[in-house]
Symmetry: C2
Subunit: 322 residues, 2 copies
Amino acid sequence: MKTRLGSRVTALFGLDYPIFQGGMAWLGTAELAGAVSAAGGLGIIGAGAAPPDWVAGEIAKVRALTGRPFGVNVLLVSPHAPGIVELVCRERVPIVTTGAGNPGPYLATLRAAGVKVVPVVSSVSLAVRLVRAGANAVVAEGEESGGHIGQTSTLALVPQVVDALAAAGTPVPVIAAGGIADGRGLAAALALGAEGVQMGTRFVCAIECIAHPAYKQAILKAGDRATAVTGQTTGHPVRAIRNVLTREFERLEAAGTPKDEIEEFGAGRFRAAALDGDTVRGTLIAGEISGLVRSIDSAAVILESTVRQAEAILGRLGGDVK
Amino acid sequence: MKTRLGSRVTALFGLDYPIFQGGMAWLGTAELAGAVSAAGGLGIIGAGAAPPDWVAGEIAKVRALTGRPFGVNVLLVSPHAPGIVELVCRERVPIVTTGAGNPGPYLATLRAAGVKVVPVVSSVSLAVRLVRAGANAVVAEGEESGGHIGQTSTLALVPQVVDALAAAGTPVPVIAAGGIADGRGLAAALALGAEGVQMGTRFVCAIECIAHPAYKQAILKAGDRATAVTGQTTGHPVRAIRNVLTREFERLEAAGTPKDEIEEFGAGRFRAAALDGDTVRGTLIAGEISGLVRSIDSAAVILESTVRQAEAILGRLGGDVK
C-alpha cells in the first residue's frame, strides 16, 4: 500500500495507487499497460477493434513485464467483442473495463470466470443497472474526456452516481474519469465521493505510450479551449483537438450530411493521428484537460506525482478544518 | 469567521463562508441576496436587463435587511450597464461581478470608487487579461452551469485558470462556478485550487428565492441528463432543463433558422419560466447539477450545510493522508 487514499479501490483490485489508465484503442498496448501496472496503478490493454489474437499477444507481453494486476478494455461495439470476452475468461485476466455500450450480456460470464468487471458509464441510470447486474465498480466518465463522450460533466456526474448507487443499496466504488490529469483532479474526485480516477490524456503523454511524438506534442501545446466535439449529429459525439479535420467534420454536419457518410469520413482517422502523427487530418483524441498536461513522464512518475500532490492538497485542506 | 476554508476569499470580501450566490437576472432580488449576505455568504443582486432605478431599489432593500457585504452582477450586454456601473460606484456597493462579456472598460472606474470587481470568465485568456487590468478575483465558470455558458468544464477550467494566474504573477483568488450544489462540490473546488464557489441552481431552490414554485419543482425533479444546450448556432449557447421549448429550439437550429429569428424566438422565455412558472415553453435555466438539488432550504441552511459537509469530507480525507 503506497497510499491510504482510495483504499477500497486499491484493496479490491490489488493496486498501490487508485489510478486506472484509460483503455485506449491503438495506444493501450502492453508497453503502456505493463508500465502502469508494474508501477502500482491499473494498466489496461485497449482491445479497440483488434482481434482476439492481438489481445492475447498483449496479455502475454504484460505478464512478461509484471506480475501485478492489469485489465483489458473491451469495446462492446467491436465485432470481436465476444471472442475477446472468451479470451479474457480463459486467460483469467483480473479486470475488464467496458466501453461504448451495455456489457450486460457478458457480465455473468465474466464474473463466473473470476474476472472483475468495471463498466465505463456516462449516466446514472446505466451505472445503477450494471451494478445491479453484478459490476464490481463503475468508471463514471464525464463529457470532458477525450474520444466518445456522454453529456454530463464529471463534477456533476460523479456525486449523482455515488448517491444513486447508495440509494439502490449497491454502494460499489466509483472511479471518476474525464478532466483529470494531476493530483488536483484526484483530490477533487475523492472529494466528490469517487474512490479512484481513470486518466487517459495524461497517459497518452507517458514515455511508455507508443503514440506518435507529434500527437503527444499536440496535447502538450493545447490550451483550455483546444478541443472540439464533433459527431453530435450522428449520435456518437467525439472530443478531439481542433484541427483541419474537426473543421471539416463541422462543415459536413452543418451541411446536413447523412450519418453514414460522416462516420465513413471519420474511419481510420484516429489511427492516423495516434500512430502516424497526422495532426492535420487525424483525429487527435484528447480531453479538455489537455491544457494541464505539460510534460512527458514515465508511467511511474505520473502515478507517484499524482498521488503525492493529492495527498499534499488533502493534508493541507484537512488541516484547515481542525 | 465561521470556517477556515477559503480564508483568502472570506477575508477579502468580508464573508463568513466562501460562497457566492450567482447573480441571476430576475431571481437575484433583494430577498435572496439579502438572505445570503445576512447568513454570511455573498448575496448578489442580478441586474440583468433591468434599469438602474430597479437596481437602486434592490440595493436599498438589501441594506435594510443586512449590514453585511453584498454584490451586484452587471450584465455587460445590457443597455443599462453604464448606468448601473455609475449607480454601484455612487452607492459604494462593495462587490461587482460581471457577466456576458469583457468588463475591461469599467474596471478602472469601479476600482477607483472602491468597488471590488470579480468578472465571471469561462476561459483562461480572459481571466488573465482581466486580472492584469485590475480584477480582484475571478469566478471561473464551467459549461455545466445554467444559462449562458462557455465551452470548458469546471474540473478542467479551474486548475488551468489558477496555473495561468500564478504564471502571470497575479495569483488572485479563483472562485469556481458550474456543477456545484453541495459540500462535495465545494471540497472538490478547493482541491482544484479554487478558494471559493459560486452556486446558482442551488440558490434558485432557496426559500427566499422568488422563482415560481413550478420552476423550483422542475429543478428538484431533474436527473443527471435533464439539461440541454441550445443556441449553439447563434454563438450564445444556453443551458436549461429540456422541455417543449428546448426541442423547438433544436428544431429551429437544425433547420438552419437565422440567428436573429432564433434569438427573437427566445426573448422573454426565461422570465416566463422563472416568474410565471411556464415549465413547458419557458426557459428553465438550470445547471447540470440540478439532479443533486433535492430540497428547498433557506439560504442560511444552504450555506451552513455546504460548508459543514465540505469540512467533514476534507477532515476525513486529510486524516487518510497522515
